[in-house]
């Protein structure tokens, strides 16, 4: 990947294991990517692929035990694994923020919305209660909620508005990196459109770098600059939007597109990927996708393919591709 760019985030060979009972869950198996300043990367994959684990590792929020984290995560060039818990607290919410899928579980039902946003500001910036409350009001307005509604409690807001509140909270200290974990999955489609529109606007205004965790390729097409397709804790394909959508290289990526209904021709039959994602406690030898892959060879079943360059910034981890 080109060297002149400056990176907000660099992840190298990230491995996360959970030691539960007598089993080891291999959640992440060597994830590496870099996020350039002001860019948005989409982490795409199905349930259990390791998308959220990646997000949590960046904030060092993986509970340990049972979690074991290996590899390096650099935020603004600084390796966070060497930081103390105190230093880490200064990063969370201030430099790197995360939005979760379900807004209700990330809000405190007993505190007003304004209080909860102001709390973040007071933790990270030296300012009084009044000043923090005023800034919380500004944040609410920024996400399109009248500031006088700040006195209300989360249950008085609808789902879309709660997600806006969570976004306001995440952005209160103008973080450089925003990790959005399925931020619109729990929302209705017209509300999703509103929230996505707002995220895009805020990203442009504050030149934030963003990690968009999603299973929805439609959202990726609208928001992201680069895409990493994650399968069984590994990146199997990485590239620009153009690379992934128009020059799909990995059979899993192709399978994801084939599973989606064709909007042009509704009679066209869906082409699902047969089988299931492998059990993370018992990953197959070789390529993790090989049991579901229509073209898997003997080599695929024994050797795990490494990410190799297709062209420019487009990488794929597939033996079949090399052979072509």
């Amino acid at each position: 990947m080109s060297e002149e760019k400056s990176y907000a985030l660099e992840i190298e060979d990230l491995n996360v294991e959970y030691h539960v009972d007598r089993e080891v869950v291999h959640a992440l198996n060597g994830i590496s990517f870099r996020l350039a300043k002001g860019e948005t990367i989409g982490l795409v994959g199905e349930t259990g692929a390791g998308k959220t684990t990646t997000g949590l590792s960046i904030l060092r929020l993986i509970p340990s035990p049972p979690g074991v984290v290996k590899g390096t995560v650099k935020v603004r060039g600084e390796d966070i694994s060497t930081l103390s818990e105190k230093q880490m607290e200064a990063i969370r919410g201030n430099v790197v923020s995360m939005i979760f899928q379900d807004p209700m579980t990330s809000l405190n039902p007993t505190k007003t919305v304004e209080y909860q946003i102001a709390e973040v500001i007071r933790l990270h910036e030296k300012c009084g209660k009044k000043e923090a409350a005023a800034k919380a009001g500004d944040m609410l307005e920024m996400v399109g909620i009248p500031r006088d509604r700040g006195r209300e409690f989360p249950h008085q807001f609808s789902g879309g508005m709660k997600q806006r509140v969570v976004i306001a909270m995440a952005l209160a200290c103008s973080p450089e990196i925003l990790i959005a974990d399925e931020p619109t999955t729990a929302l209705d489609v017209t509300i999703q459109a509103q929230v996505l529109d707002m995220i895009r606007e805020l990203k442009r205004k504050y030149k934030m770098s963003m990690i968009m965790i999603t299973h929805d390729l439609g959202i990726v097409a609208e928001i992201c600059d680069t895409v990493a397709i994650v399968y069984a804790g590994r990146i199997v394909e990485y590239g620009t939007l153009e690379d992934i959508f128009n020059h799909t290289a990995h059979p899993y990526t192709a399978g994801l597109f084939g599973s989606l209904p064709n909007m042009e021709d509704r009679t066209q039959r869906l082409k699902p990927i047969p089988g299931l994602m492998p059990d993370p406690t018992n990953l197959p030898e070789g390529c993790a996708f090989s049991p579901r892959c229509p073209n898997a060879s003997e080599k695929c079943r024994t050797q795990c393919p490494a990410l190799t360059r297709v062209e420019g910034e487009h990488f794929v981890a597939c033996h079949l591709f090399k052979e072509e």
């Binding site: 789902g159 209705d188 017209t190 990726v220 989606l260 209904p261 509704r266 699902p272 990927i273 994602m277």
Partner: protein, 323 residues
């Protein structure tokens, strides 16, 4: 004449709440031809699931009639309804919540056969269960496993097998694939399609996912605050969405392609409360084209093209433009 299996006429379902009467379903009429699929779409709270439940009389309609092959089931007694339900089954969104965690897969699928006394011999019943499992693509080895041991896709297959055990004519599918990953979602949709072809099933397919509904349905009804605001054949609806809400809804789908990007219509505000509704168009407060008339009068569904009905005053003007 079209062979209509189910006809729903002026069905209403109101709930009493401390704040007033909640109009969950408010005067909904539609019909489904035998062997076809009606997709019902709308956002949370629009009344699509309530409509599905009322059609099966899992909820009693406040008003209106539900004609299954010409017979009004809204007037049937409890015991008459029980035998009628064999013909009318349901597949639920969250298979884990709708499957008994203490029963094995075999027991779950067998239960309706036993309760409805369809097959009396134990051995015969077991054979029928295994046959059903094969139909929905569940391997025999899962006969004695429990639902929690299986993944979402297989659990949904159990739900489908259970619904099929009654040899139904009509199935209400309430968000059957919403909880599943895309690759599994496609497996289940293909299965439902195959079953429809093999057994001549009629579906009412309730979902919030517009690209799925387009793929899966012959006709689509769009609901907003308890009413059908537009209804048309699938391709017609996607080619000529006419109600401003349908237009906004379709434009809001994130398209997984870098070409054919559409202009977004971003709606202001959110769905309002279905309690104590004013006599006005329910969409008026969010509508880009609302006029004074929309706030004082409620539009009725009117046909604008063969099979295409819209409840909007503006459509008169739209017609005038195209002529």
């Amino acid at each position: 004449m079209a062979d209509v299996l189910l006809e729903v006429k002026h069905v209403k379902k109101y709930f009493h709440t401390p704040k007033g009467l909640l109009h969950a379903v408010d005067d909904v009429s539609f019909s489904i031809e035998r062997g076809k699929t009606l997709g019902v779409v709308g956002e949370s709270g629009c009344g699509k699931s309530t409509t599905g439940r009322v059609v099966l009389r899992l909820l009693e309609p406040t008003e209106g009639s539900i004609l299954m092959e010409g017979q009004n089931i809204a007037g049937l007694s409890e015991s008459q309804m029980r035998s009628k339900r064999r013909e009318m089954q349901m597949i639920f969104q969250d298979p884990l919540a709708s499957l008994d965690p203490r029963k094995t897969v075999g027991q779950i699928i067998e239960e309706p056969l036993r309760i409805h006394n369809i097959i009396s011999g134990t051995k015969e019943r077991q054979n029928r269960v295994l046959e059903l499992m094969e139909t929905v693509g569940l391997a025999r080895r899962y006969y004695s496993t429990y639902p929690h041991e299986l993944d979402g896709g297989r659990r949904q297959r159990i739900g489908i097998a259970r619904a099929l055990s009654m040899n139904p004519k009509f199935i209400v599918c309430d968000e059957p694939v919403s909880a599943l990953d895309v690759s599994i979602q496609a497996q289940i949709l293909n299965l439902l399609e195959d079953l429809q072809k093999q057994m001549g099933l009629t579906y009412m397919f309730i979902t919030h996912d517009l690209s799925v509904v387009h793929h899966f349905s012959d006709n689509i009804a769009v609901m907003y605050l308890g009413r059908i605001i537009e209804m048309a054949p699938s391709d017609e609806l996607f080619a000529h969405p006419t109600h401003p809400y349908t237009q906004a809804l379709l434009s809001a789908i994130p398209v997984p392609s870098l070409e054919n990007r559409r202009e977004r219509i971003i709606l202001k505000g959110e769905i309002t409360s279905p309690i104590n509704l004013p006599k006005a168009c329910r969409f008026a407060s969010r509508c880009l084209y609302a006029t004074e008339r929309c706030f004082g009068e409620e539009p009725e569904l009117t046909e604008i093209a063969p099979g295409h009905q819209v409840a909007c005053f503006r459509q008169d003007k739209a017609d005038a433009k195209t002529v």
